[in-house]
Symmetry: C3
């Protein structure tokens, strides 16, 4: 199996699980859960494909749809195993953005787009599904929150191109490194409560108008 | 006139009225009402066309736009007749999702898509306009609520394919049956306060975390 | 340089600044600000291009992306000069919708679309970026508010076609007039607290149900 198809599938599983966890937290019914899991999994890739002008993958590829429904049902059945919902949700969401950033960059490269656009597409692919999930579940969307989120995707995407242009590391390995940077950076950032150096003066921070 | 063009027009009228009712409830000005009615009518079909790769119908078909504006103005003038806004809104929205589910399935079939995708497109066509209407009017989106909504569309869509594959009933009649199932099921579900069998244990329902 | 490319760039600057002002008001970090500025600038044009079936401009045009990032960084550095954030935000947003209305109409004409659709596309181009900006920044979206907003775009768009069909004024000048009408009308409307003549009876206004 193609490496990127594999990465895409694992990312799909991670986001489907994150969708199930968010929807069951809201005590949605079983169809609601399937819809949220589906939208979380395919939201980012769908927007990316529309922007680039690719045909939307899941429309023609029924296996993809059955795969998501299957993952969702398994995740519903075994959701008790994921006892600490908050931690599990954070973990699967983080794995999802790491893998989807890489998938988005690769899709951009396959359409001969420039590095800055590829990084943007990686970020869109990674973050948009989670944003829709949160809006539909009436949660504060993850990008609004103070946490490092899209920043991790941008950092991973930039690392990809820096390593590609400045080192002799083979491309396949660079993809693995870039995805790992996204995941590791977000895990560390949330664990150690990292925030970016502030651009605001003390005075500005005191006067939230 | 083509059967599906007819169904589409009736669905458009129903959703335009539901948009007018929601917007006048918020005391929007006349341009605001027209925009909300328009978005409610064309939102679902537009997303469906973008996903499948069809050209967006209303962009090239000016009659469609004038038709919606005309319906909207009539609905504004005669809104007093719809005294019980809450009931009327529910009714027109329900007729809308029934008809648009059928329109979405037919569009999917016309692009040779598989049954599961056709059901998904029917559901998207039926529900997305109402979701945008509610977000723009600052109402809780209808899909968030506990009511049976998307579930009725999925049930109607699945019924269509079950009847198509397992019975000798002609396709045109099956479409009528499928649309009626969506409408009847939602009417009954809301009237009798049906909910789907819960997947949650008693313990989970007590601990909404 | 082509006249419309110039108008588009000025509109882009105005919306990028409005994005920076909204995001810094929320004390977002520097990546967050860049993402909001970018989305505000390209949101409306992107939706318009998807609806018409044009390729999305910024995907293939890297200069556009660097231009927005450059404007954003300048706007961040000089944000102190824009002391009265509320007034500045209103001003740049208003310039943005005026210019983008004109750009949207011109794009519609270039695809041989009818006047009513061109006006709709002008309004979409002008308003959608600001709507996304407000949703992502957790502000009440500007179109929900009581202010004249989309109405100014529709009025400017209709004026364009009235002048084109009924007067001998050259097209280039009509574009300038139409954009000025949008900007002037909104400035005056907000300054003098204009509202459209109400369609509601006294009784209806008292009974907000």
């Amino acid at each position: 199996m193609d490496f990127f198809v594999f990465v895409d599938l694992i990312g799909t599983i991670a986001f489907a699980i994150s969708g199930v966890l968010t929807a069951t937290k809201k005590r949605m019914d079983v169809f609601g859960i399937i819809i949220i899991a589906f939208v979380t999994s395919i939201g980012g890739g769908t927007l990316r494909d529309l922007l680039v002008g690719f045909p939307v993958a899941w429309i023609r590829n029924t296996y993809y749809v059955y795969f998501i429904i299957g993952c969702t049902i398994l995740a519903i059945l075994f959701r008790r195993k994921l006892r600490h919902v908050r931690t599990s949700l954070f973990l699967f969401d983080t794995i999802g953005i790491g893998l989807y950033t890489v998938v988005g960059i690769e899709k951009g490269l396959s359409a001969d787009l420039s590095p800055v656009i590829c990084v943007a597409l990686g970020t869109v692919t990674a973050t948009f599904g989670g944003v829709i999930r949160d809006i539909l579940c009436n949660e504060i969307p993850v990008v609004f929150r103070k946490e490092i989120y899209a920043t991790a995707c941008i950092l991973g995407g930039v690392s990809y191109f820096v390593l590609l242009f400045l080192t002799p590391i083979p491309e396949g390995i660079i993809f693995v490194i870039a995805g790992s940077i996204v995941i590791t950076f977000r895990l560390l950032a949330v664990h150690y409560k990292w925030i970016l150096p502030t651009i605001y003066s003390k005075e500005e921070l005191e006067n939230l108008n």
